[in-house]
């Protein structure tokens, strides 16, 4: 697989990283070094909030492009405002668009999402929407001009992996823009599976930041994304309901059928 290109920009990796949830801010540097992500998401919050800032210098130091998100927004209107704040603050028109429809499951509200995507594209943003695993919505987002679509594997922070591989494959089949599996990755095999299903990249946040050893998990996911990419390119064997011998069936030395065995 050649490099991942989103909106004409070549990314250094098919692993994207969220930064929220690290137990200590000083872990971010080692995590970035281990993950070598293609993009790193940040949020924008009031300077007076308790949210940890000072993150940009660390990102710059590691040469990782920043992708602001609109996490927490409950309407298209809020998301557009947040995207505008992020563009002004960070000097990038890229945005990971999130419009949450349910504060328990943190599932996207796809109706507001499509509306926000259309508005942001019209305003010149490069929009990467966090969406459901619905291929029809994914195509709507792609048709609206989104630069990629980011379907969820399972709810944010759940670590349940890809609950519906069939749906993720349908999303991949439905759009021509890159597909980034977002949300739900819990461990390496989840990330590898996403690539094998046809996703172009994986975004992990909680899986890394809340792992017992975030740096090591960052490394694990980097390897897993590379493994999944290579496996997909290698053309896996078909699944078979019956066994197939991997050793020669002829030429064994044994008692002849007639002998007492």
């Amino acid at each position: 697989m050649s490099d991942l290109v989103i909106a004409g920009t070549r990314l250094a990796s098919r692993l994207l990283l969220g930064t929220g949830g690290l137990p200590r801010p000083d872990l971010l540097g080692p995590v970035l070094a281990a993950a070598r992500p293609g993009l790193v998401t940040v949020s924008v919050r009031r300077t007076s909030s308790t949210a940890a800032g000072g993150i940009l210098s660390v990102l710059q130091e590691h040469g990782v492009p920043v992708l602001p998100n609109t996490a927490g927004c409950l309407s298209a209107r809020e998301a557009v405002l947040t995207a505008e704040l992020a563009r002004e603050a960070l000097g990038t028109s890229w945005v990971k668009l999130e419009v949450v429809g349910d504060e328990t499951t943190l599932m996207p509200d796809v109706v507001e999402l499509v509306e926000a995507a259309e508005e942001l594209v019209a305003r010149g943003f490069t929009v990467l929407p966090y969406t459901t695993d619905d291929p029809v919505v994914a195509r709507r987002l792609a048709d609206a001009g989104c630069a990629a679509v980011m379907p969820l594997g399972s709810p944010i922070g759940s670590g349940l992996g890809v609950l519906n591989p069939y749906a993720i494959e349908a999303v991949v089949a439905a759009v021509d823009v890159p597909v980034v599996l977002d949300a739900g990755v819990g461990t390496a095999s989840d990330a590898a599976l996403a690539l094998e299903l046809g996703c172009d990249a994986v975004l992990a946040a909680t899986a890394v930041t809340r792992a017992a050893d975030p740096e090591r998990m960052a490394h694990a996911l980097r390897l897993a994304v590379a493994a999944g990419t290579a496996a997909r390119d290698a053309g896996r064997i078909p699944r078979r309901a019956t066994a197939r011998a991997s050793s020669p069936t002829e030429g064994r030395v044994t008692w002849s059928p007639g002998s007492s065995c």
Partner: protein, 62 residues
């Protein structure tokens, strides 16, 4: 002049947005009444009594 800055009521004597928030470092942005004000306009935008001002910064997230 009575303003709201990042959700907190404030009584200050300022004329422009720049007066209130000063030069913002990279990674920060300001909005007046939930409209983003480009950095270059901070000293041209006058504040009025009752205005709601927000200043945001990039934080870990997502």
């Amino acid at each position: 002049m009575r303003l709201t800055l990042n959700g907190v009521p404030l009584d200050v004597d300022v004329t422009t947005l720049a007066d209130l928030v000063g030069p913002l470092p990279t990674g920060q942005a300001a909005a007046v009444n939930l409209e983003v004000v480009p950095r270059a306009d901070h000293d041209r935008v006058a504040l009025a009594d009752g205005d709601v001002v927000d200043v945001v910064t990039a934080v870990a997230g997502g």
